[in-house]
Symmetry: C3
């Protein structure tokens, strides 16, 4: 006997009737606003090719490390979920993998994945029974059938989701072919790229050597000399700008910055490409390159996003067997105040430049990030990120940043996802949590109702449009 | 004129009627469930001997550093509370000490000690007047009278409290005599031990020399050589298993782990027992031994608890006069991500092993612990510990771990107490706070009511039974 | 069309009717209690001279870095706000600066500055229209008119605000002339000083050289030798005591303490005044001086306040152009457990001494500060400070300290402000937030109503009077 699935219209609002009613009113004004997604990881080939997805496992399970990490943590082998290994896919049947997922769906109680998935199941696929072992096949079949239809092609869903703007993320060594094909196709969906040069900046990145060779090919620059290397970045940034990019993105282990003399920078670069670098050199080079990227952003106007503090591929055995992005990235403590100072001493007082800071370390929200963003003209705070992109995480973000940085030094919501179908769900959760937060301020007479209404618009569209210069 | 004492049936539930009613319903299903106490510090001799306790001060005040530290912080000398010194008990009359405590009872307003004590006073001893200076003698007399009765012997209270399982904690050098006598007595109460080898692992522990000598005597092994030392651990673990142990416990200053080669480990051990160790060696040896303990847990199936991050005996003067466990242990910042990696690289992907992590540093809940436990099959999160075993502390634990680790990577409640009479009070507070948390999720439509009912059972009995392999 | 301005009588109370009604009742008992302000930064010359303030910009905008940092963070140049540069005031007209501020007033939504300013506008100046671009001139004119009247002179406002006690803060090199004139005037307002010797202790302070010369002149001591230097502190502490001081204050980058031998301390001092110091020496000297100050507090009975962890003057460019206190001080992570141990080993067990700890790093509230203050007799916790002196910040302070330290190891509220007119607003916010916190405890049956009433009095007057020995 399966359980019903129904999305409650008041979900994520306070159960206090005063707050709930205010939240409802605010939410009604933004519930259907178009989606602006300035940072994420969807695959641009979906929109270039517009081919149908094959089945529920391929679409919803295999690419989503939020999901399979949880099952893995409870002893479910990745093979049983049909998660690809480095040496190829396991033999697991996709239907069997889906059943295993369905039988463990209770593990997600209390998690945002559960909220997003139920939203996808109910709103996108029309289910009214909850997923569990008894409904696994029903889900697998009906999702498969729908995916085969025209209405579930990527571009059709893009339109159905009311997406106004969607940024993907490509490495500096990407040829941007998919984006070129999107534009050449005449389709009017606005899908753009983002410049993410980590693999040609981080000498400890496992793709560094290959990425650098490709970087050389694509630019024709002498990238193994400092000036050629910088010129290659400028060349590629221009190509990304031409493919619609309005932002860069930097995923460093720390947020260390440096501002070396030209001579010292060149010598450091020599050690990096010469293979004589130390671990400290690798860190210093990443640090120097953040400042170089800031300098280039002053030139070309791209907003600069910094996503620091993830210990990538923490599980050595799993990395060996399955590679990266398998749910084994773990946040670490991150220091911003001393780390950012070299870059801020250089560009901090400019309001021509926007640097958007993210963190996986919530202890810096009130202590470091809000005071920094509440002072430096160039700084803005990105929304609650990754593990913290959740109702409690977003609430803590607002509670710990608003009183010092205000709302206007934040940039609205990022879905930051590979899971295309979850985009409306994620924006909906964010809008609801923001409305609940504003409703509390109004109910406690800390904000007027008309101000909350104004802020609901800002948090949905105004701030993101200005920060990412859309 | 004394004040009334009455435990409100809705205590610790939200005052919002929607949430309160859901919480009431959930709580009713678990309020009377038997107590499972898999980690604590009661004295097994109480249950072996079943002798009456003498008076309120000896039972409730002298052993409870949660209480006397607070009075000490406000200028009450420990002598006035009859707290033993290293060189013997102060001359203070137990009744006078109780009066001093009673006159300062207001200091506990807003603390969990207050909640637990009032529960003990009302439920165990039947008081309906609050403790203060005017009722101090009444309390002392009536508690003394009741303790003299058969119904207040340790075993009678154990039954009255509906305790199904109670683990104590003994050092590796303990002869387990009390546990042997409990089993030999034919009493059917399930009181077991836990293997806590800190005093033979931590060369900086003040009991290390004596504990090692006793460790040698009890095992007959050549414990001053590496292989004999490891064999001695195996011998004692088997003895603890025979005394019912299902878990080990490790109270290190940090959670550093190491996985040295056999040669390096042996050389390190040589410095430890040879007295030529450095502070770094002491830390590295503790680190290596966590991995050795994990290896042995893979062999014998005991769950492994790690309680890191307490700066023990911070007050030098008080340690000199009064010794350890006098309320002067202070939490410190604790790093898990890099620290655990050597051990996790070795055992992290096993689901044959359960490692339960505790912390006194709440900043790691969302940043480090929930992501680690939400990935590694061997890891589980212990409940909010020590200073955080409180309504707000438990709420923060759930808010900061659930969205990433879910409920199923946690292990239910630990009372972790020396205060036997407070065990029902502590479990009651935990159950109420969990029901209040679940009620909020239901009231905000983040969880279905039937799921919350299911989780209330899991948090009370299911998770603890599985994690500790009962 | 301007918007109405009205302070709601239930502001900052929960919207839950049960909690709100309890909060109202509690608040009614302390709403009009006299203000005790034991730590702040108002200018004693205001009360010595009792001259009128000139206009809204000079009174409310120019001295308040809480305000202009936020506008600066959004690209408003400090010149446009008439903020003084090192080389003199910008040419900006005060009325134009006020207009710029008014047009950006929405930036403060959700911040405590907004709460304080609206309180000042409504309660002190009688406005019933909100500040924005359309009312900027009305505000500037009416505030200017009122400031010119007798009723708005500093002493008249001091009486109107029901201030019982107001401490200012002066450097060790201050001649205390303003305080002497206040006392000589026969005015009965109780305005006292506080001994803040940072500029003669911190060799990295930009005023160190000048301050030391002045310190020598004022004391007549041979301050360039260790014993003379210590004697000079004793001389000045006595002078400050004579000017009403009951406390000292120490604003160090960290809370490091040391307890060197006399020989080592003398040698260290020699390097400090001899100009041969290292950065480590500067830190060690600050550390040693905290212990020296504790020793002197044991002698003269002054409470000792420590305000650590601010990275002062983080913005190099702005410091060069505008100097200190321009909104560019950023909090940093702060460690207390190991740092305080040398001092606590010396004075920690004394209850003759009160050391009040503040922090900008909320992660230490539950982990370090509450356990320390809940044990050591000399320690008390100062209220939520600076960036955390806000509704959410004060709530977090109570939630994270009360369960371990109780209420009685805290010291009531500090307004800590340069903005004299905001003092009633700040105390009102603190009282409301405390009542809301107490009301929640009562509503959840964690505290009796009569206890909450008692605590409301303690938090308003009892604790502060005892901690600061008024």
């Amino acid at each position: 006997m399966s359980k019903p699935l129904a999305l409650h219209p008041d979900r994520l609002f306070s159960s206090d009737p005063v707050q709930r009613d205010i939240a409802r009113t605010l939410y009604a004004t933004i519930a259907d606003a178009p989606i602006i997604s300035p940072h994420g990881h969807t695959d641009p080939r979906w929109f270039a090719d517009d081919r149908p997805w094959t089945d529920a496992t391929a679409l919803l399970l295999q690419p989503d490390h939020y999901i399979f990490r949880m099952l893995y943590s409870q002893g479910v082998p990745l093979d049983a979920l049909a998660i690809p290994r480095r040496d190829g896919d396991p033999a697991t049947d996709h239907r069997a993998a889906w059943r295993t997922f369905a039988e463990h769906y209770h593990l997600f109680r209390g998690t945002p994945s559960r909220l997003w998935l139920d939203h996808v199941f109910a709103e996108v696929f029309g289910f009214d029974e909850a997923l569990d072992g008894t409904t696994a096949d029903l889900y697998f079949d009906r999702i498969g059938d729908q995916l085969a239809s025209e209405a579930f092609r990527p571009r059709a869903l893009f339109d159905r989701f009311h997406i106004d703007f969607l940024a993907t993320t490509e490495g500096a060594h990407d040829d941007l072919d998919a984006h070129r094909r999107i534009r050449a196709s005449g389709w009017n969906g606005r899908v753009v790229t983002t410049y993410r040069p980590d693999s040609v900046i981080d000498v400890e990145h496992e793709q560094f050597g290959d990425a650098m060779r490709r970087f050389a090919e694509l630019t024709g620059e002498d990238i193994y000399h400092w000036n050629g290397y910088l010129a290659a970045h400028r060349t590629r940034r221009a190509a990304f700008r031409a493919a619609g990019a309005t932002a860069t993105d930097h995923g460093h282990p720390t947020v260390a910055t440096a501002n070396l003399s030209a001579t010292d920078a060149e010598a450091l670069f020599g050690r990096i490409v010469g293979g004589t670098w130390s671990v400290a050199d690798a860190e210093l080079f990443r640090a120097q390159m953040l400042t170089e990227m800031a300098r280039m952003s002053l030139e070309d106007g791209m907003a600069m996003q910094i996503h620091p503090g993830s210990y990538r591929n923490h599980n050595a055995g799993l990395f060996a067997s399955h590679g990266r992005d398998k749910g084994a990235d773990i946040p670490t403590r991150t220091e911003f105040v001393r780390s950012l100072k070299p870059m801020l001493d250089f560009v901090g007082n400019s309001d021509e430049l926007t640097i958007i800071l993210f963190t996986l370390d919530e202890s810096v929200y009130a202590r470091e990030l809000a005071p920094l963003a509440g002072h430096y003209p160039c700084l803005r705070l990105g929304p609650a990120w990754w593990f913290h992109d959740s109702p409690e995480g977003m609430r803590r973000f607002r509670e710990m940043t608003t009183e010092t940085a205000g709302f206007y030094n934040t940039v609205g919501f990022n879905d930051d996802t590979r899971a295309f179908l979850s985009i409306p769900a994620r924006h909906d959760v964010a809008r609801r949590v923001d409305c609940a937060f504003l409703a509390k301020l109004v109910a406690e007479h800390r904000l007027a109702d008309w101000e909350a209404a104004d802020l609901a618009q800002e948090l949905t569209s105004g701030l993101v449009s200005r920060a990412y210069r859309l």
